[in-house]
């Protein structure tokens, strides 16, 4: 009933922002989190030591409630030189005019080394320019409990090429369901909700040849409710119906807590919990495929430059520093995300060849699939996520997807087809 505008916060930020306007200082607003904070403190120190002779310094500002803060600062024209943007929000910000392209500022070496999925996430299709690059990438795969796999006589694939197809994987679930101690073969994270519903399950739809919006015409109807998309959703639903999946209401820790689930479909951020709980029993299995190729989710926070920033020379120095092999490797070590550069992966023992989490890095390099980069993404993901949740919980698939198609296309129409995407 009541909505609150944000002039107060903006005013507050205006006060602090005026302090940064000295020449030759690059100010970067960063997300605030425990593991990130340590990295940023170190990074600021590294930068200021390295460039002490060149009359440029870096100031890092951790900002709580990050998205609200940058939106407010943008409206009052108080954005710093460099900001961080979460992948799915990027297109929305570019469309609003908040960001400028950064491709020309980056060294050739950065662009050569960066992972294709990370580059695709930061590329805006209307002008095909890069607006954002991440230091790390996320990925999702099957985590397995070797004890149960051995009992069921299952040999897990070791490479992406050998990834299970749908029938093989369903057979695996069936075998696991009969193993003593396994209550549910797979924790599919049905209870996660929010962005996970698109992030976590979109790769299966892509793998089956479907999509949630036509990425040429930007119409949802005919794609989100296409035969391919529906078949992928029905395939996942059949696991739920067979009782292979941990119910949404059974909590989050069946795989690594009481170990009543044999497999878990979840991302790299669970590494620590899983490896601590399972130790040597933990195996990493590549994402299964529904069609020709398997795909895995990707995405994360990246560096971007507001259109209001004009200190191009120093920002260029900063971007190439922060995206250097060394810094990317350090970011990965601090946060547990996959290094966004090929050479940094080699420098990080955990993700390098033979490393314990190598499969995550392989997936990020080879089969990462980017969610649609379009300013209507908030509507697309919210409507698709809701429809998928309802279908998993028993709703009619045609009704749910047709409704989502209509809601998405209505929004696109309301925004005059999001020019320049209307071409």
């Amino acid at each position: 009933m009541k909505k609150i505008k944000i002039p107060l916060l903006t005013g507050l930020l205006a006060l602090t922002a005026s302090d940064f306007l000295q020449a030759k200082q690059v100010t970067a607003w960063v997300i605030d989190g425990e593991s990130e904070r340590q990295y940023f403190v170190q990074m600021e120190k590294d930068f200021n030591e390295k460039f002490a002779g060149q009359d440029v310094s870096l100031k890092i500002q951790p900002i709580p409630s990050y998205d609200d803060a940058i939106r407010a600062a943008w409206m009052s024209n108080d954005l710093p030189d460099v900001v961080m943007v979460d992948g799915p929000n990027m297109a929305n910000y570019i469309w609003s005019g908040m960001l400028q392209p950064i491709g020309n500022m980056l060294d050739k070496e950065v662009l050569e080394q960066i992972l294709p999925g990370v580059r695709a996430q930061g590329t805006y299709s209307p002008d095909n320019k890069i607006y954002m690059l991440s230091q790390g990438d996320s990925s999702v795969l099957l985590w397995g409990n070797k004890k149960y796999l051995d009992k069921a006589g299952i040999v897990a694939p070791q490479t992406i090429e050998d990834a299970w197809d749908y029938d093989q994987f369903t057979e695996v679930l069936k075998k696991l369901s009969k193993v003593d101690g396994v209550k549910w073969p797979l924790d599919f994270k049905l209870g996660n909700g929010g962005e996970w519903n698109t992030y976590g399950y979109y790769p299966f739809i892509k793998s089956a040849g479907g999509d949630i919006i036509n990425q040429k015409t930007w119409k949802a109807d005919g794609t989100i409710n296409s035969k391919e998309t529906k078949s992928a959703i029905n395939k996942m639903k059949s696991w739920i119906d067979s009782g292979y999946i941990v119910p949404a209401t059974a909590g989050d820790n069946r795989f690594f807590g009481d170990k009543t689930a044999a497999l878990s479909w979840v991302g790299n951020w669970m590494w620590r919990s899983h490896s601590q709980a399972l130790g040597d029993d933990l195996v990493l299995i590549p994402a299964p495929r529904f069609g020709e190729h398997s795909y895995a989710p990707n995405g994360g926070w990246g560096w971007a430059v507001p259109s209001s920033s004009n200190n191009t020379k120093d920002i260029t120095t900063f971007l190439n520093f922060v995206l250097s092999a060394d810094q990317v490797a350090k970011w990965s070590t601090a946060t547990g995300y996959i290094p966004a550069r090929r050479d940094s992966i080699k420098m990080t023992p955990m993700f390098a060849e033979g490393g314990k989490a190598e499969m995550l890095a392989l997936q990020a390099q080879e089969i990462a699939v980017v969610r649609p980069v379009h300013p209507a993404y908030p509507v697309i993901t919210s409507e698709f996520g809701k429809a998928l949740k309802n279908i998993f919980e028993g709703a009619d698939i045609d009704t749910a997807l047709n409704r989502a198609a209509m809601a998405i296309d209505d929004d696109i129409e309301d925004n005059m087809n999001y020019p320049p995407f209307d071409k």
Partner: protein
């Protein structure tokens, strides 16, 4: 002129409250009325906001999901209000007696409203957990089987689970108001009734209940409004599921206005919600006045 000056300090003292009211209640209220006729978006955009007349309202009223959320919200209110009020009144009467340590019991009873609702919800998520939460443990012990109920995952009982949790979480508020109302009733009425040979039930029926008339009007209206604004519990526990069986009007507004960033659309929902709640409130007042 003199009388004008006399009011200055009073106006000065009222001003902060008035400014806050205007900025945070009146302006957003009228803005959302205006937005409901436009295609306003949460994020700024390079194209102008357009006046689209009644299109938002047409879409809302044609959306089956909206009607589902209306149905769920009304169901919730109709179940919650009588149970919660009876419970509040009963516990208020119990706590109004002159037992030893009554202050301690009162303190214990109001604990739920001293706890933030998000914390309560997380605790209840563990209680409701499938298949081995506390509630299922009790159920299995009572039935002597290994059967379990998916409290939040079963379409037919998810809303009832939300009802149970919501009543527990908020009944002490109404109880406190009833308690205050009970203490307003003069003691000599009960003494006179006792002399006349009234039993406890008759005392309740002919003294306590009529004595709480004004309290009742207030409590019923406030509980109705609270019940119709159901959101937090649902948003954290079920996200509106399973299969839409616990979506509510506020949740529908949240999902459209915040997740999908369609502020114009969500404003139209809020206008419809406002009209519904206001007319229900007026209706209740009218009915109870005439009693």
């Amino acid at each position: 002129m003199k009388s004008y000056k006399r009011f200055l300090p009073e106006v000065g003292m009222l001003l902060p409250a008035i400014i806050l009211m205007v900025v945070f209640i009146f302006i957003p209220f009228f803005l959302s009325g205006y937005f409901s006729f436009t295609n306003e978006r949460l994020m700024p955009r390079p194209i102008p906001t357009q006046w689209i007349g009644l299109r938002n309202y047409e879409r809302i009223l044609a959306d089956s999901e909206f009607w589902m959320s209306v149905k769920n919200t009304l169901y919730f209110a109709i179940v919650v209000i009588p149970i919660q009020l009876s419970l509040s009144l009963a516990s208020a009467i119990l706590l109004n007696s002159k037992l030893k340590f009554i202050a301690v019991f009162r303190g214990i009873t109001i604990l739920p409203i001293l706890t933030p609702i998000t914390v309560i919800v997380v605790i209840w998520a563990a209680i409701f957990q499938t298949p081995d939460g506390l509630l299922n443990g009790i159920y299995q012990w009572l039935t002597g089987t290994y059967d379990y109920i998916d409290w939040l995952g079963d379409e037919t009982i998810a809303m009832l689970s939300i009802v149970i949790l919501s009543i527990w979480a908020s009944f002490p508020f109404q109880m406190l108001i009833y308690l205050a109302g009970l203490q307003e009733i003069p003691k000599d009425r009960y003494e006179a009734a006792e002399i006349d040979g009234f039993n406890k039930w008759q005392q309740f029926r002919y003294i306590t209940f009529p004595g709480l008339r004004n309290t009742n009007i207030f409590v019923v209206i406030i509980t109705t409004i609270g019940a119709l604004s159901l959101f937090t519990q649902v948003n954290i526990l079920t996200g509106g599921g399973p299969n839409g069986s616990t979506t509510t009007i506020i949740q529908y507004m949240f999902s459209n206005g915040f997740s999908s960033q369609k502020i114009g659309y969500a404003s139209a929902v809020s206008v419809i919600f406002f009209i519904t709640v206001a007319s229900l409130g007026l209706l209740q007042r009218r009915l109870m006045r005439n009693e």
